[in-house]
Symmetry: D2
Subunit: 144 residues, 4 copies
């Protein structure tokens, strides 16, 4: 198992919320993550479509996995999302996270969410700050 696979396993093991989302990792390497999940009834908002927070959450997980793969604990500073197309219960959403740039202290990621017809559902951008701590250490810190 490569170092980045160990990081992913360590992160997923305790990630209760990603498990609630039903996230399944399809491909993973340093700086890259592709995953999918299926929209369930309990993920819907008052208009019968997927809650924007659920789409954001799946993208945020892909972002976290992609930017922590290099081993330094990286925390999200900023994230933005554009909602392009709605989705309903039963639909499978694919989330692909690519690294735009990775530096010593910061990392910039671009994440696209698509449905089974390969239509764009949402576009997410995230900026992470790399702390000095290892992902697989004993404890964690926030950016400050």
């Amino acid at each position: 198992m490569g170092a980045e696979q160990k990081v992913l396993a360590a992160m997923l093991d305790q990630d209760h919320y990603s498990r609630w989302l039903g996230i399944i990792i399809d491909e993973y390497r340093v700086g890259y993550c592709r995953l999918h999940f299926t929209i369930r009834e309990e993920m819907l908002n008052g208009f019968g479509i997927v809650h924007g927070g659920v789409l954001f959450s799946a993208a945020d997980s892909a972002f976290a996995f992609a930017c922590n793969g290099q081993g330094k604990l990286t925390v999200a500073l900023d994230a933005s999302i554009s909602f392009i197309k709605s989705a309903k219960a039963g639909e499978v959403i694919t989330v692909e996270s690519k690294e735009l740039h990775s530096g010593n202290r910061t990392g910039f990621y671009d994440i696209l969410l698509t449905n089974e017809q390969n239509e764009l559902v949402a576009s997410f951008k995230g900026t992470g700050y790399r702390t000095a701590k290892p992902v697989c250490g004993d404890d964690n810190e926030k950016a400050e």
Copy 2:
């Protein structure tokens, strides 16, 4: 019950995910919403702190409630969040959504998330697009 309270009741009634979040509305009027929720185990990420997606989700719900209060179905176009302080299971997060501007077709909202010590946990900004349909009508549409 005022018109905006009817809108809120209609939205909440079917909002499975906001119910999963455990959202409790504290104050509500057209363009304004204050709510709170308590972080649970299943909302945590792999680092033992609240998943960023959960914070975003609660803000997104407050945003949706605030911008739909005027009665026209409003969909989120863009949202951005800055993560300032982490939070743990058991903490109560208050989410306050204020209207920066409300026009015929668009609405701009500023949402702050604070913990019980009144420290800023995250800052959220959302832009909504007002469709021609009423919130309490029979069906809904996405922006396009």
Copy 3:
């Protein structure tokens, strides 16, 4: 001259600020624009590097050109930028604007800024709202 070239000519003709920026269009079609400009002394901030506002401005112009090419006057609602690498006077910056999605009422664009070494300088995302007016009409309106 195609319809979108007419739109571009009409926009550029009166665009004093894009002219100040020294923008040169390299490629243009509906939903797409690639341009470049050279950083001048008067574009620098107090630290001797290009002012972030200048990078944003060039991206915002590329965004405007790309999203107005279809002929309906489109105004920017939201834009975000991540600053990845600094740049100095004399450097040539290329700005490439791609359409993520174009709908009846909204358009989503992704813009990358690179230097002569093809390194990413900044990443920009923009959301536009399409009004009912033609770009080449007599007058204009804001989103509201």
Copy 4:
């Protein structure tokens, strides 16, 4: 002259682009900046209204002044802007930058742009990364 006034003077002295914008500082202290400028012909876009990049630029300057006042050289990582109301040549725009949070390594700022009727023209959010270097040192660095 207080330390933060010395920082401001040092930044402004070399800030060619803020001078081109015609920025005048109205109030300044650590974490806070209020300034104004007047929209000129050469700041207009192809639709005869102020170019979005000019509004962003003035906000970005206010952000830079506010976040560098504490003395550590701080670079912008991410910024987002929502365009709410257009503005024309001759209008005076006031830009007010407030600190949402200031930490050891990061700072979060909220900036509002208003016209002479005190109407909101745009809303800007910025995240800065504090380097270890002093603002008034000999040389500078980018985040990486």
